[in-house]
Amino acid sequence: MNAVDTGFILVCAALVMFMTPGLALFYGGMVRSKNVLGTVMHSFILIALASVVWSLVAYSLSFGSSIGGIIGGLDFAFLRGVGMDNGGSPADNLPHLTFMIFQCMFAVITPALITGAFAERIKFGPFLVFSALWVIFVYSPMCHWVWGGGWMGEMGALDFAGGAVVHMSSAAAALAACLVLGKRVGHGKQAFIPHNIPLTVLGAGILWFGWFGFNAGSALAADGIAANAFVTTHLAAAAAALGWIFVEWMHRGKPTTLGAASGAVAGLVAITPGAGFVTPMPALLIGGLAGAICYGGILLKSRFGYDDSLDVVGIHGLGGTWGALATGLFASIGAKGLFYGNPAQLWIQFVSVVATWVFCFVASYVLFKTVDAVMGLRVSEEEEVKGLDVSAHSESAYQL
């Protein structure tokens, strides 16, 4: 057990935790003012709900001893045997509790990312039920496959900090949500304009800040790999913010603040799978392209006509997919990608991308449909028009 790493990873866990309130603001600023609390609440309450579910059962399903590479056993249910020393810890330099809580923060933010897709129209109770089930039945297996000793990791898929586990999985669920829930009332007719962009920029700033814990912390040690992941994370985000505003400047005539913030997040997403595997200059490229790709992805949305309120698919889906493939191209630290003579890695990445999308989409779709059948997912039109703050939470956000 290593005190340096213990301290470092605890701090990183705090940083990752802080991302979810950041996400709450990032999303909250983008909805209409009558839905800001409903939107903020989604992320905020998931810090609570997902953490409890994680400690009771999902951690064990993710990191318990593998059952055929598919799912973890119940050895660690209720955190049994997860203690202050490294006994049983997947990272034997860390107290088991440290490893568990660091991972917990990932299980929190992942379902929170999904909420951008169904913002402004979902019922609160069914949302809670869906989210708890999703952590258990979608997140835990994914996490196990990649990091818990499951088949995807065994196959050699590279996912440093969660391109598949966090971003593609949440984006696939987001897509399922759009299909099941349908469009918001007035979509395409009324203007759905962000009500508070400074809030969104603040959220993006917090996300960027916390992402250092996310990616550098995924080295699970305060070492050179962590330093490298820190640097690639920062440079990819930087390049992506520039990439995004450059493309929109060309396309629409002006660079926007919301674009800079969105681009930064797109870059952070895209570098996540490769942060510890690629060097800084490729990170600039991965980021810069991520900005352009995700901007394009969002434009496509209106083509397909679905209503992904806050562009979860466009940013996390495309960004995560691009990042996973880019890792197969540019990996050079501790693994080799196509450009370093190992085309097989790209194939492995491709397989992991497809498997992740298919599994997460299908499983999320089934979960949404089931919850919808049992409880009804969507608020009434009257509640939706009134806004979720008042209709679902009996609150108003502002009395300025």
Binding site: G186, Q190, S394, E395, S396
Partner: protein, 112 residues
């Protein structure tokens, strides 16, 4: 000339504006107001304490028109803003004695 004050649902603002523009109305002024009427408000709860909010968000649209367009405007607005649900709002007609365009100093109908 007359001033027509329309108090209606906020999301109807754009539709009403478009309908008026289409019939050749060149200007109008809108503001956010809070309405009290037959439409019920809602409850809010903060740390266990309940508050009844009786005022509902409405938009007020003010249009000054020549007398001869009055009936026509009222009709269009009423049709456009109507949903049939309680809370659709009211149209008030007030007399206007004079209008001045600040930019040019024109007065009367020329100034509208």
């Amino acid at each position: 000339m007359k001033k027509i004050e329309i108090i209606t649902r906020p999301y109807k603002l754009d539709e009403v504006k478009n309908a008026l523009t289409e019939m050749g109305i060149k200007g109008m002024t809108a503001s956010e107001v809070k309405g009290f009427g037959r439409q019920r408000g809602h409850k809010e709860v903060y740390r266990g304490a309940e508050y009844q909010v009786d005022f509902v968000a409405k938009v007020k649209i003010e249009v000054v028109v020549e007398d001869k367009r009055l009936a026509e405007v009222i009709q269009v607005v009423q049709k456009t803003a109507q949903t049939g649900q309680v809370g659709d709002g009211k149209i008030f007609v007030l007399p206007v004695e004079d209008v001045i365009r600040i930019r040019t100093g024109e007065t009367g109908e020329a100034a509208v």
